[in-house]
């Protein structure tokens, strides 16, 4: 039995419990217990109706937990009288959970943890390992998150009043996408493949809601995931885009990403994720680094700047300008930006090297290495400095 398949049932099972009257926090715990049991029992004894099995077991776990809690006795009587609810529209359930777990009242860290558990069905231990914190810390982060969102909703009455259009407001979708983007972009690698998990959750979301930015984010993830094998050398060091072995890019993922992106763009509701995916698609489309269509990439960065006005986007745009119009033009674009921006020095080093000013490049590479926010980047920049210094002393 595929663990990811079991976990894909998490949102709909959880919502069934909530609609039967269980509060979100208790229902979420019960579903976790049921998932653990499923992983244990199903390989030898697979159920005919997987979702039905999970609902039954989770509901029993919920009742057991409720019974054990004397203070909740009154509510237990109420929920036990309640008839089992009929089938509920799965897409709507899933959406509600995504929204709840990405609720703006949560910190980004809590939203990420809660989404991975309540929507993704990962255990607290798996999430803790993925984010390199103790299990007890992650458990607290999740239960605080659950307390926060318990105040905002998913009681049966409110869930009902929400049905129909509540979730297609762009603002709501944007918070969910932000959380999924954070999960995907997390560089840690452990037993849990966070990038693959983010893709699974975004696919599930895309199936539940027809929204061009959801499609845009999914395309962005697929296009970046396609390069994963080429992105690191066997020794774990970073391989920059221009030096990657493009034969190792996953052409199936690229084709899927491009197709999803084109369908989204055709709807003429551009957003930042579609624009980012378009840039990734242009890189994917180039047979060699030299054949990259930098002019078009600059145009997409202009769109992105218009959409987000993010300094990081402007920095990346300066790199693209340097490739499209020459290093001098890139340096001119860079000069308009705050030099305290992360990676500003690294970009300056690269552009000076392209411009032939090796002494400045070597000095800036070393300075950029000193400021690098992560180990792989620091090592990469140190090697760049060493490489240019070697060229200088020849």
């Amino acid at each position: 039995m595929d663990e990811a398949l079991i976990r894909s049932l998490t949102p709909s099972v959880l919502t069934v419990l909530v609609r039967r009257g269980a509060d979100f926090a208790a229902a979420e715990d019960a579903v976790q217990d049921a998932l653990v049991e499923a992983v244990r029992v199903w390989p030898a004894d697979p159920p005919r109706d997987a979702k039905g099995w999970l609902v039954t077991v989770a509901w029993r776990k919920f009742l057991d937990a409720t019974r054990a809690d004397a203070a909740r006795r009154r509510r237990e009587e109420r929920v036990e009288e309640e008839p089992a609810s009929g089938p509920v529209p799965a897409a709507d359930d899933t959406l509600q959970l995504y929204f709840l777990c990405a609720h703006p009242s949560l910190t980004p860290a809590s939203a990420v943890a809660l989404t991975l558990r309540a929507v993704g069905g990962l255990t607290t231990r798996q999430i803790a390992q993925a984010y390199l914190v103790p299990e007890a810390t992650m458990a607290q982060r999740i239960s605080r998150g659950k307390r926060t969102v318990s105040d905002v909703g998913l009681s049966p009455a409110r869930a009902h009043s929400r049905a129909g259009g509540r979730f297609d407001r762009p603002g709501d979708v944007a918070t969910v996408l932000r959380v999924l983007y954070l999960v995907f972009n997390e560089g840690y690698s452990g037993d849990v493949d966070l990038a693959a998990e983010a893709i699974r959750l975004t696919r599930q979301l895309a199936a539940a809601i027809d929204h061009p930015e959801v499609a845009g984010l999914l395309a962005l993830m697929l296009l970046h995931h396609a390069r994963r094998a080429a992105r690191t050398a066997p020794d774990g060091s970073l391989v920059p885009l221009a030096e990657q072995d493009r034969g190792r890019w996953d052409t199936k993922l690229i084709a899927e990403g491009v197709e999803i992106l084109q369908a989204a763009l055709a709807r003429d509701r551009l957003g930042e994720f579609q624009a980012q995916a378009a840039i990734a698609a242009l890189h994917a489309d180039a047979p060699t680094a030299e054949e990259t269509d930098w002019v078009q990439i600059v145009e997409w960065y202009d769109e992105l700047t218009r959409l987000t006005d993010s300094p990081v986007v402007r920095l990346n745009r300066a790199v693209a300008v340097g490739e499209a119009d020459g290093p001098r033009a890139g340096l001119a674009a860079l000069a308009e930006l705050d030099d305290a921006l992360p990676r500003h020095t690294a970009v300056a080093a690269y552009l000076h090297e392209c411009d032939g000013d090796l002494a400045t490049a070597a000095r800036l590479y070393a300075e950029a290495a000193h400021k690098a926010p992560n180990l792989a980047e620091r090592d990469h920049l140190t090697r760049q400095a060493a490489r240019v210094n070697a060229r200088l002393s020849r």
């Binding site: 980004p108 860290a109 990420v112 914190v133």
Partner: protein, 135 residues
């Protein structure tokens, strides 16, 4: 989220405001100090921000490789070592501002006379894994 190391020094940090050596505190003051540190860690665990906390013995050895087939050389401790780490706490927080806030709270641990030590703590960000999306 970002991880930070809060470093506590036996020696090498700028002088604290309430700068009385611990062996001159009363036993109750020492207990109160230890209690504060434990409570602080417990509170961070509850907020989902605690990663690790450890204390180090003040005296250690310097060790280095001494060539193929030879045992490592040990030396020290050296009285002149300027920087001596006493212990650390690792936190995982949403922002740099939050890290500074927590370091400030830890520095308020009570010392002599039950008053905050105002001890200087060193705050160092962890180097992380690289993000997936960079361009």
């Amino acid at each position: 989220m970002a991880k930070y190391l809060l470093l506590k020094h036996y020696r090498g940090a700028p002088a604290a405001v309430n700068d009385v050596p611990m062996d001159q505190w009363t036993p109750q003051e020492i207990s109160a100090h230890v209690q504060y540190m434990n409570d602080f860690a417990a509170r961070l665990e509850k907020t989902g921000e605690f990663v690790d906390g450890q204390a180090l013995a003040p005296e250690g050895k310097w060790v280095r490789y001494d060539g193929e087939g030879r045992p490592p050389v040990t030396d020290g401790p050296f009285a002149e070592t300027k920087d001596l780490i006493a212990g650390w706490m690792v936190i995982d927080v949403d922002s740099y501002e939050r890290a500074v806030e927590l370091a400030g709270e830890l520095s308020a641990a009570p010392g002599a006379g039950g008053k905050p030590i105002h001890e200087w703590l060193e705050l160092r960000p962890f180097l992380t894994a690289p993000p997936t999306i960079t361009e």
